[in-house]
Symmetry: C2
Subunit: 276 residues, 2 copies
């Protein structure tokens, strides 16, 4: 449904990869006419992942969207050495949220791939998010590396990583964004809170990108924004040769469509600036 | 101001402990009449912490509120062996939030003391929060132990701890509440999300208490609720002989008053059911 909805909105040209009988059965059940769409038949869902990844590698498709298979099946195929679509960049997931109480879109990362990223992984996670911000038209995004508080504390490794990442951006090891941290959540999104704490920072109070210490913080904050702050979101995996969309059963149609739009923006930027 | 505001609302009877000249200077500046209040003079702020803790230990005061000194000064005095007010229970901080989009108060913990609690500390953290829920009239509170996802995953220690804590509650090692976990944020607070994931749980969708894996998740979620979901909050430290209030400069008057009210509720319950 996510693929067909996006196709009918002229966002994407879908290629349906998987067991053909199952695809046709689902389409019949949902009253979808498959005539306009290409089907690439495979024997089972794992083969579908391998086939789709090979097509992405060959440049035949410019994004992947997970269908009815496990996320791990698709990601395993994507990161397979030699035949996958990994790059020298770590893959990571970015959620883009429209929050009614915040004046700009909030990019949260890593909301889905890396469980407890180390400093090197966090560098890539930030660079992926900055690249996505550019792809949707936000130049020099402001990146807040979050921790429980805004001061460096030797007992809280998230604050040490944040300080190191801010310096890496100053030294050009991360490019295209303004990175500061550690920042606590309040001083990242509220200028008043930053002022009260006497924080001088080009990022404080106006962050575009929130970098979370680990998957727990990222998952919980994204879900809390959706469930208690009325946010609408979209999400995408970056760091692979083509972006990957991982729809969840709980996603609204709007979330699925917006995720496709993110993938299209990334694909468009790659086509124009960094051909595979 | 927090103490005087609460006194004028007849919530508490304050005892002002600290350097008398400084206290009188601040009062004069803020146009406060100190005549109705007891002042216990000390030489400096560290001595104020020791003195106040000693008074709590002797039963002369039933709660402590941090004034103009470092949180660490007060907590160090509180946990000092032999002269402090520690119990066999780990101390922890609970934030109670009124969230417009959620139908009941949300208790978040540990939002201020334990950086990376282990299983034993998490047990105490949960018991402290359950005790606070009882003190404010919520019997058998529903406790969600949160992680990034609702399934047990050997690579995510938060999910393993959550499963263990749920079992500890079943075995009576935690009492007075219904504990379940791991739960992701969405299925803890949304029955729809829980249903979509086919989760059968007495806690899912209607959690009173959210137990966070570590201080980063706790701090960020509490602040996000305040800054982006329009929540009003209060907070208190439990697990010591008397509750401790740790006001922050960014707190509103409402937050400070509500924190005093929590301390009063806890003190009242102790007086009636578990005399020191």
């Amino acid at each position: 449904m996510a693929a067909i909805d996006a196709a009918q909105a002229n966002l994407i040209v879908p290629v349906l990869v998987g067991p053909e009988e199952k695809i046709r059965a689902v389409a019949a059940q949902e009253d979808i006419d498959l005539a306009p769409y290409t089907i690439v038949p495979t024997e089972h869902s794992h083969a579908a992942a391998d086939t789709a990844v090979a097509m992405a590698r060959a440049g035949e498709v410019e994004a992947l969207m997970k269908g009815s298979l496990q996320t791990s099946e698709l990601i395993s195929a994507a990161i397979a050495r030699d035949v996958g679509i990994r790059t020298d960049r770590r893959m990571s997931h970015v959620s883009v949220m429209a929050v009614p109480s915040y004046p700009r879109p909030l990019f949260l990362t890593d909301t889905g791939i890396n469980i407890a990223p180390d400093l090197g992984a966090k560098r890539d996670i930030i660079q992926n998010a900055i690249d996505l911000a550019y792809a949707v038209g936000i130049e020099q995004p402001k990146v807040a590396v979050l921790a429980a508080l805004e001061t460096v504390n030797a007992k809280m490794s998230a604050t040490l990583d944040a300080a190191a990442l801010a310096k890496m951006a100053e030294r050009g090891q991360i490019s295209g964004g303004i990175v500061d941290g550690p920042l606590a959540f309040d001083n990242a999104v509220s200028s008043d809170a930053a002022r009260l704490k006497h924080i001088t920072s080009p990022v404080a109070g106006q962050a575009d990108i929130l970098v979370m210490p680990d998957i727990e913080t990222a998952s919980m904050l994204a879900k809390q924004l959706g469930y208690l702050a009325g946010a609408q979101g979209a999400g995408i995996v970056l760091g692979s040769r083509v972006p990957i969309i991982l729809p969840s059963r709980a996603d609204t149609v709007l979330t699925r469509m917006a995720s496709c739009a993110l993938a299209v923006a990334v694909a468009h930027r790659r086509r124009s600036s960094m051909p595979l």
